[in-house]
Amino acid sequence: MTRRTPWGALLPPLVPAILVIGVLEALVRGDVVPAFLVPAPSQIARALVDEGPSLYPPLAQTVKASLLGFLIAAVVGVTAAIALASSRRVQQAIYPYAVFSQTIPIVSIAPLLVIWFGWDRTALASAVIVSIFPVVANTLAGLRSTDPALVDLFRLYGASSGATLFRLRLPAALPQIFTGLRVAGGLAVIGAVVGEFITGQGIGGAIGVAQQRQRVDIIFAGVLLASLLGLALFGFINLAAWRSLRSWHVSESRH
């Protein structure tokens, strides 16, 4: 098999990025695309520096809301999935509503969140609500697909249901739990920013203000920061997945 080096993995996605940045810069500078609609990459970079005071304090709020939201979604989501997996009846009774809750557009209930949780916690609540479902769904799928032969083995050795859960079903579900967490990480940032559009705080709020000022460069800078935050969270979850699965699961082992 081919050896993977950090550079080898980074290079392929860097090529289109450099290409797009170069073409965009040329198009804007050559007045093919008006700068008030699409800013040149260099203008976005300048906004990231010059508009720091209107971007970074809000960014800190977004980081806090999405990280905390993700953590709450992870803990509550896994716990809820364990509860659902413990009884088929409970699962049949509750799960359809969990699916139904996914069809409610978060933007439409954001005003409610402000009333219920207050301005300062709306982004957090929104992040939790948006990111919890993939954690529940994937954890549940993982818990339900334990190898029956291994379940028999644990029964044979007289394992309690607690021991079966913590020594067999949860570890076996770990790859799927991480799949849920990866999706949840990206969604937590999206949820937080959506909440911030309503409250005017955080990076969502900063983007709203920039829209009123017709500053597309700041909007782009804000979008870039929010994406980088999502990317960082995704990378962190991947690292955790790699650390805990590399020794045994095909998804993370590269020999």
């Binding site: 083995l153 029964r155 044979l156 050795y157 007289g158 394992a159 067999l168 045994w248 699961h249």
Partner: protein, 259 residues
């Protein structure tokens, strides 16, 4: 599901394991076992031979108490310590060989130091002392099966139930494990029931072979193998061995099992 108090496997003072007229009929009407009676004296090595679908797996599930007979009873000694080895090694991929083999002790609440010592001993007995810190994905099929065997040995079983344990392995590995199993049996003195559909393997590892009929399974032949106690590879091409396997083959053919 079976009902009635008398169907619960009883543990008697007799040191033999006895299946008395057990039947198993499934909810869909399929009869897996006809009245089947079988006695496994303490310390004996019995091979259970049968065509596919003769109820061998059902019998295994009844012995492991993962299932109950519809009728009849199973008598086990009070102090029976059972361990099982299946065709699938059933190792937990996220655990090292050591932690896999130690699982039964861990589930029984044996303290870590004590259980590691016992497990290392068992791993040495199956020839896996050097692989203790490896993960199942790093092992060959034969090594996985040895790890599975070590996991069975850590509980110091008085009864070892082997359900087609080496069926998925290549010929050379299988023969090596047959030899190894026989050595372990002699050293440990447990009662062994070796379920298989391979005539040669049954004759080679066991002292007695029981042939089952097609479903519903019943005993068509209960045959003490007339072979020396020490088995070596040379025996496999011996005329005495051929005579014994011939008897088993005939019984299988008459029972309606295709070979």
């Amino acid at each position: 599901m079976a009902s009635g108090e008398t169907l619960v496997p009883r543990r008697t003072r007799s040191s033999a394991i006895e299946l008395v007229a057990i039947e198993r009929r499934f909810d869909d009407g399929v009869e897996a076992l006809a009245p089947l009676t079988l006695r496994l004296p303490a310390g004996s090595f019995v091979a259970l031979l049968g065509p596919s679908g003769c109820g061998k797996s059902t019998l295994v599930r009844l012995l492991t108490e993962l299932d109950r007979p519809t009728r009849g009873s199973i008598h086990k000694p009070f102090d029976l310590k059972m361990a099982c080895v299946f065709q699938d090694p059933c190792l937990l991929p996220w655990r090292t060989v050591l932690d896999n083999a130690a699982l039964p002790l861990e589930l029984a609440g044996v303290p870590e130091a004590e259980r590691h010592a016992a497990t290392k001993d068992a791993l040495a007995q199956v020839g896996l002392a050097d692989a203790a810190s490896k993960y199942p994905a790093q092992l060959s099929g034969g090594m996985k099966m040895r790890a599975s065997l070590a996991r069975a040995l850590v509980v110091q079983p008085t009864f070892l139930l082997l359900d087609e344990p080496f069926a998925a392995l290549d010929e050379i590995t299988r023969q090596a494990l047959d030899d190894h199993l026989r050595t372990l049996w002699k050293a440990w003195g447990f009662t062994a029931l070796f379920v298989t559909h391979a005539v040669d393997e049954a004759a080679y590892v066991a002292d007695r072979a029981v042939v089952l009929s097609r479903r519903p399974g019943r005993v068509v032949l209960d045959h003490p193998l007339d072979l020396p106690s020490d088995r070596t590879t040379a025996l496999r091409s011996d005329a005495r061995f051929a005579a014994q396997t011939g008897i088993l083959r005939n019984a299988l053919a008459e029972s309606g099992g295709a070979l």
